[in-house]
């Protein structure tokens, strides 16, 4: 569907005739830009195209279709007078010469609040000359042509607001798109053909079985043949699937291998970073070990010191006390307290001399100072512990443990510092290592090994299936030979004919299946190639686009081939646009091939795109990336942008590719709260897309060519 012109007449907000002219396709500048203030009628262009193609719009029926007429017309047209609402396009469908299409309705107010509407009707004419009259599409052939070119369920793939296919591709609803997609690439036709051929095959088999019903051996052989044939068909289909899977794994392996090579160069630098991290981790572990050791040593030394170092200052005084006891001959006690008491009780001394008064006084004085035996022992022990200078037990406790404890405390403090330093270094290095390619490289290598394992497993399955297929083919040969012998003599010719017909039908089904698969594979290869070409060159950061072989829908994968569910920025936007652009190119190619083969005529042609606010869900960087990506992705591109989607970066990227630009001008009497939101920069000039009306006048919208 390629446009030369689109015209809106009294359609929704657009008063009178408003046209957008398109340059001939193939020119370098393929973009038609429409700039519009917010809520001025930008998206109305999409509604107008849907109305033109299909004659209806969501929210409008026969009763409410009068609402499609511009407010201003409805408020100013006298009661009973017709208002003509139409959308017209000069368009080429399926590569055929252009025609003029018009979808139009007439509506008139028959009484206050009551309207009568006729239409909408589809008209056409060959030329764009005013004197040529429109013909009504009475037999619906034109409508069929439009439906074939842009099926309704695919409209939003090519003419969309925000994202193609109503954003379903990026919201996990892709499955709902599979059928429309298969229809779009004519894959459904294969399925229909297979159904028809299968039905013929089944009916022929039923007929032969009826013929063979009275011939036991022959009927058994036919059943056996049917069973083996069905089993063979499953094996063939399984083999095709395994072969495709092997092909996909080879592709994935090759992609990842390439990534590995690219990453390994960066990985060398990362390796150094990784080694530094490992060194710091070793230092940390050593410091932690030293710390544990110092803590254990400190605890042990505290216990061993038994607090004696705390008493060091009082030891001289104690030594003095002990010395005094020694001088008084009380320490160590030469004579015990009990012995003196016995002496005092006796009248004579041990030497026989009688105790005189003086002797008794001396003994009594000594008795007062004598110590109990155990106390004496304790003091003797203490004196012994203190004696011997540096070698004494107490002195060694006092001399040794404070020094040992100080050393261990110093060691602990050094270990804590080393631990803190290494932890800080690790904290700094860890994110660098994570961000570096070493992790990425290791991940890729692991993935490559996984794929290699899967590949070997698939090869094994393929070999097994091939073996089974050979056995089944041998078995069929034998059954066929037996069938020829067992064929009943009566009606043999008819049975033989039926057997041949069944064999032909079987081959047809098998060939159609094979053809369908080959077609789907070819579509897959082409679409995949285009998708990657468009996506991979636009997106930064290593993610790639990939096509699901079964659904033919796109996904984004990371360098290790894992699906990325929520890519950031605007990658999904790029993917969707890249996919529909690739799809449009593919449709054109399929059409050309079918035409060349003489199989079809005006099925599909080159595809125009209308993109309304394509940057909506993209960040600033991706807005620019998408703007750089858009030019030359379709023979015709109509881009509708509001102020917020027209920053300088987008303008710089798109302006060199713009063939012409239109402004959607809002005619209004309402206060402009922010006049700057109506000011647009295009080329070197600034244009205002707001025109003041007198108070009370009804607002409306027009197109103005601004570039």
């Amino acid at each position: 569907m390629i446009f030369e012109r689109i015209t809106l007449h009294n359609f929704q907000r657009y008063r009178g005739e408003n046209s957008i002219e398109f340059p001939a396709p193939g020119k370098a500048s393929s973009i038609i830009l429409v700039l519009a203030p917010n809520n001025s009628g930008k998206t109305t262009i999409l509604y107008a195209l849907r109305f033109l193609f299909y004659g209806h719009l969501a929210g409008y029926d026969r009763e409410t279709a009068w609402n499609l007429a511009t407010d201003l017309c409805r408020s100013t047209t006298p009661l009973g007078e017709d208002i003509e609402v139409w959308v017209e396009a000069r368009v080429s469908i399926g590569g055929e010469p252009p025609i003029t299409l018009r979808r139009s309705l007439q509506t008139r107010q028959i009484s206050a609040g009551r309207w009568k509407t006729e239409g909408p009707f589809l008209f056409h004419k060959k030329t764009d000359r005013p004197n040529e009259k429109f013909q009504v599409d009475a037999d619906g052939s034109l409508q069929t042509q439009i439906d074939a070119a842009v099926p309704q369920e695919l409209f939003s793939w090519f003419y969309f607001a925000g994202e193609p296919a109503e954003g379903k591709m990026s919201h996990g609803n892709s499955r709902a798109l599979v059928e429309p997609l298969k229809k779009a690439i004519q894959l459904r036709r294969w399925t229909d053909a297979i159904h028809t051929a299968s039905a013929v095959h089944t009916s022929l088999k039923a007929k032969l079985q009826k013929e063979a019903k009275n011939h036991g051996e022959y009927a058994n052989l036919l059943n056996k043949k049917d069973l083996v044939s069905r089993s063979k068909s499953d094996v063939v289909s399984g083999l095709a699937t395994v072969q495709r899977e092997i092909q996909d794994l080879q592709r994935s392996y090759s992609d990842i291998d390439g990534e590995c090579l690219r990453t390994s160069k960066k990985a060398e630098e990362s390796q150094k970073l990784f080694q530094r991290l490992k060194d710091q981790e070793l230092k940390r572990d050593r410091a932690a070990g030293t710390l544990d050791q110092a803590n254990a040593e400190i605890s042990s030394l505290i216990s061993k010191s038994a607090g004696m170092p705390l008493l060091a200052p009082v030891l001289p005084a104690i030594e003095k006390r002990l010395e005094a006891l020694r001088k008084a001959n009380l320490l160590p006690a030469d004579i015990s307290k009990g012995f003196i008491e016995r002496l005092l009780r006796a009248s004579n001394c041990v030497c026989g001399r009688v105790h005189d008064h003086g002797a008794k006084e001396h003994l009594e004085a000594y008795l007062k100072k004598t110590l109990a035996t155990h106390t004496n022992n304790d003091l003797v022990n203490l004196a012994n512990a203190l004696e011997g200078g540096q070698d004494s037990r107490v002195i060694s406790l006092i001399a040794r443990y404070p020094g040992d404890l100080s050393r261990q405390l110093g060691k602990k403090s050094d270990a804590i510092r080393a631990l803190a330093d290494s932890k800080a270094a690790i904290e700094e290095l860890t994110p660098q290592v994570k961000a570096s390619s070493i992790e990425e490289f290791n991940k890729l290598v692991r993935r490559r090994e996984e794929i290699s394992r899967e590949f070997r497993a698939k090869e094994k399955s393929r070999d097994e299936l091939e073996g089974r297929l050979r056995t089944q083919e041998d078995s069929l040969k034998t059954i066929n030979a037996d069938l020829a012998k067992a064929r009943p003599k009566r009606g043999a010719e008819e049975a033989s004919k039926l057997e041949n017909a069944i064999a032909i039908a079987e081959r047809l089904v098998a060939n159609l299946r094979k053809g369908q698969q080959q077609f789907q594979d070819a579509v897959y290869e082409l679409l995949q190639e285009r998708l990657r070409q468009h996506f991979d060159s636009t997106v930064t950061g290593g993610n790639r686009a990939k096509l699901d072989r079964d659904t033919l829908l796109p996904v984004i994968v990371d360098p290790a081939d894992n699906i990325v569910k929520n890519p950031g920025g605007g990658e999904m936007q790029v993917l969707s646009i890249a996919f529909v652009a690739g799809l449009a190119e593919l449709r054109t190619k399929i059409n050309a091939d079918l035409k060349k083969a003489g199989l079809a005529g005006r099925l599909l042609g080159e595809q125009s795109f209308v993109l309304d606010s394509p940057f909506t869900s993209a960040d600033h960087n991706y807005m620019r990336a998408i703007a750089d990506f858009l030019p030359n992705k379709a023979p015709q591109l109509l881009v509708l942008l509001a102020k917020q989607n027209w920053p300088d970066t987008v303008r710089e990227a798109l302006e060199p590719h713009i063939a012409s630009a239109y402004g959607v001008t809002l005619h209004t009497s309402a206060d402009a709260h922010d006049a700057s939101s109506f000011e647009f920069q295009i080329g070197k000039k600034s244009v205002s897309l707001r025109k003041e009306l007198r108070a009370g006048e009804t607002a409306y919208t027009t197109f103005e060519k601004i570039f």
């Binding site: 803590n295 254990a296 400190i298 605890s299 042990s300 030394l301 505290i302 216990s303 010191s305 038994a306 607090g307 004696m308 170092p309 705390l310 008493l311 200052p313 009082v314 030891l315 005084a317 104690i318 006390r321 006891l325 110590l371 109990a372 106390t375 304790d378 003091l379 022990n381 203490l382 512990a385 037990r393 107490v394 443990y401 404070p402 020094g403 404890l405 100080s406 261990q408 405390l409 602990k412």
Partner: protein, 142 residues
């Protein structure tokens, strides 16, 4: 034989005794007797003489520790030195009842200082603080 009771304020420090049921991995007192001896030494060092107050409250578990245990663990010298420093008269110093009383009172003072360190520096730093006091002397004292 006379025995030394464990002052009540030792509760929080019991896990620092290796023999305690809930001993910590960094326990720094081999036995309860070691804890008391070290606490008494610290208490004496801080008071520079007899304790300023008499200990009134004691733990039931662990129970009183016989002086013989201190003797057998090589801890009696400390107790004797402290008692002699608290009592200028030898008879008084060497009287076991006096010795026990002096040690209990000073141990309570030492344990109080240890508990304060435990609260302010945290349990994991306690051995380090105590080691510092033993190596370089407590922050206040003689």
């Amino acid at each position: 034989m006379a025995a030394i009771r464990v002052p009540s304020n030792a509760t929080d420090l019991l896990p620092f005794c290796q023999r305690d049921e809930h001993a910590r991995p960094d326990a720094c007192f081999e036995t309860y007797a070691h804890m008391l001896a070290i606490a008494a030494c610290l208490g004496y060092r801080l008071a520079s003489g007899p304790a300023s107050r008499s200990c009134q409250s004691f733990l039931k578990t662990p129970g009183p520790i016989d002086l013989g245990i201190f003797r057998s663990q090589g801890l009696f010298s400390q107790l004797l030195i402290i008692s002699m420093m608290c009592h200028p008269d030898n008879d008084a110093a060497l009287d076991e009842a006096n010795l026990v009383r002096s040690i209990e009172d000073l141990a309570e003072a030492g344990l109080e200082e240890m508990c304060m360190a435990l609260t302010s520096k945290g349990a994991s730093s306690f051995p380090e603080v105590l080691a510092g006091w033993i190596a370089e002397g407590p922050p206040t004292g003689i």
